[in-house]
């Protein structure tokens, strides 16, 4: 077999589309660094995407998301779906390194040709994290994975962005994760289409279940899609309990948004979000580049405490002229 490093983009895409793991892995790497994405790659992927259900799974660290996903994969595979997983873990702000451990819980699926797992580190880039997830969704969608699972930790801004791109949002929590006031705090209990109380075999699970029920009883106020009533399910991923119910709810939600037309609306909104994040990333990268190149000048400005505001405008202006000179054809 010829070496992969010498393939051109078209050959690489052809191999990826025919299911070659290595070629798919390489295409995903190309998508990871926004401004190293070869021209036309996003277009050729997006032209073939728009059919898969994107499932965002979020929740506090240690709530069992990865194990739950592993069980869910088994259930989805039994029903003939091809499943892709983008597992996002944080990078160290100090060393820039990351230990990507989500995959560990899903390794039983490693050799299943209908499952593709990709880990992504946040790299401390603002927006970059959600952008990588968005571009990878287009790729997996184009490669025919009809269920795409995005796994993130917590509910920071970038996670909310990713969730905006998902058709179906699942929020995972566990017994003892907080009382009714925690559950009522803004944010967490508003974004989900399906709520999962995992580790239901643990003590306190009944109490937490009651808290969650209470938090979800809020009528239709503020819901983005008021025709769908969020569901609350109990699972025990480690014991394999409640997983099929979760898969059924995911499919019910899919049928629902297909009927209401929200399915394709989401595809459009995730692509517009992708464009916005690409633009932001272009600005951020150029700010860093110009900033690095102006260190001496900026140090002098800082020392003299003179024209600080003007210097910031100069950075911005140089960034604009840099971007003006980009070849976009």
């Amino acid at each position: 077999m010829p070496s992969f490093s010498q393939l051109n983009l078209e050959e690489l895409l052809n191999r990826a589309s025919s299911g070659n793991l290595r070629a798919m892995g390489k295409v995903l790497s190309l998508l990871e660094n926004p401004y190293e994405i070869p021209k036309n790659l996003l277009e050729s992927l997006a032209k073939r995407s728009g059919n898969s259900q994107v499932i965002g799974i979020t929740g506090i660290p240690g709530s069992g998301k990865s194990t739950l996903i592993s069980r869910l994969i088994t259930s989805l595979r039994r029903n003939g779906h091809k499943v892709a997983i983008v597992a996002i873990d944080p990078s160290s702000p100090i060393s820039k390194g990351a230990l990507l451990g989500d995959r560990l819980r899903m390794q039983e699926h490693a050799t299943d040709p209908g499952v593709f797992i990709r880990s992504v580190s946040s790299k401390g880039l603002k927006g970059g994290l959600s952008l990588a997830a968005l571009t990878m969704i287009e790729a997996f969608d184009a490669f025919g994975y009809d269920k795409i699972i995005i796994e993130t930790v917590g509910v920071g801004q970038s996670e909310v962005d990713i969730m905006k791109a998902a058709h179906t949002i699942i929020v995972v929590t566990m017994p003892g994760a907080g009382d009714d006031i925690q559950a009522l705090k803004a944010g967490v209990m508003e974004i989900g289409d399906i709520y999962v109380l995992n580790k239901e075999d643990k003590e306190e699970s009944r109490k937490t279940y009651e808290y969650l029920l209470f938090a979800l009883e809020k009528g239709d106020i503020g819901l983005s899609d008021s025709s769908w009533r969020p569901r609350l399910l109990k699972t025990s991923a480690i014991m394999g309990k409640g997983i099929d119910d979760l898969a059924i709810s995911i499919n019910d939600h899919y049928d629902h948004i297909k009927k209401t037309g929200r399915f394709f609306e989401k595809v459009i909104s995730r692509r517009t979000l992708m464009m916005k994040l690409l633009a932001e990333q272009l600005l951020i990268e150029n700010v860093e580049k110009i900033y690095d190149g102006m260190q001496d000048k900026l140090n002098a400005v800082a020392r003299n405490a003179d024209k600080i505001f003007i210097a910031s405008i100069e950075i911005a202006k140089r960034v604009c002229s840099e971007i003006d000179n980009l070849d976009v054809n």
Binding site: S5, R22, G25, K26, S95, Q107, F116, R118, K123, L282
Partner: protein, 147 residues
């Protein structure tokens, strides 16, 4: 590529795995943590992995280096399987290193089947990180499509 002139520091991705019937993972976890602290993205796939599982993970994650930890004594048998598997998929350009309780007399044989570096007991974490970084760099430089 829209901004080729600005090259940031490279982020290398390494797979750390236990190969074969071998549940002793303290060493592998120490290595995984050390590589993280030296700035790598580390994928840890856990204990008792088959060559097929490791190869699938390496291809899906598009890693730059595969690091295997073996304390079971069956390193030559398993590493031969792993290297054959990589070769059959045209993926033998991914450098493979190994560490563990490996007798010094086996080093030559492991080298012969294509293992790029063998780390014996007592190796320093810094040297492991340096060797892994060099191998990752060398691999990326050969690729036309990754910055």
């Amino acid at each position: 590529m829209l901004s080729p002139q600005y090259t940031k520091e490279k982020q290398y991705k390494v797979l750390v795995a236990k190969l074969g019937i071998d549940g002793h993972d303290r060493g592998a976890k120490v290595i995984a943590r050390a590589l993280r602290d030296f700035g790598f993205d580390v994928i840890y796939t856990g204990i008792r992995q088959t060559p097929e599982q490791i190869i699938s993970a390496a291809l899906q994650e598009d890693v730059d280096v595969i690091g295997i930890s073996i304390l079971s004594g069956s390193h030559i048998y398993h590493m031969k399987k792993l290297m054959e598997g990589l070769r059959s998929l045209g993926a033998d350009d991914i450098p493979v290193v190994i560490g563990g309780t490996i007798p010094i007399i086996d080093v030559e044989e492991l080298r012969r089947i294509g293992i790029r570096e063998v780390f014996l007991p007592g190796e320093s974490l810094r040297r492991i990180a340096d060797v892994v970084r060099e191998l990752a760099k060398e691999k990326r430089e050969k690729e036309s499509y990754r910055g």
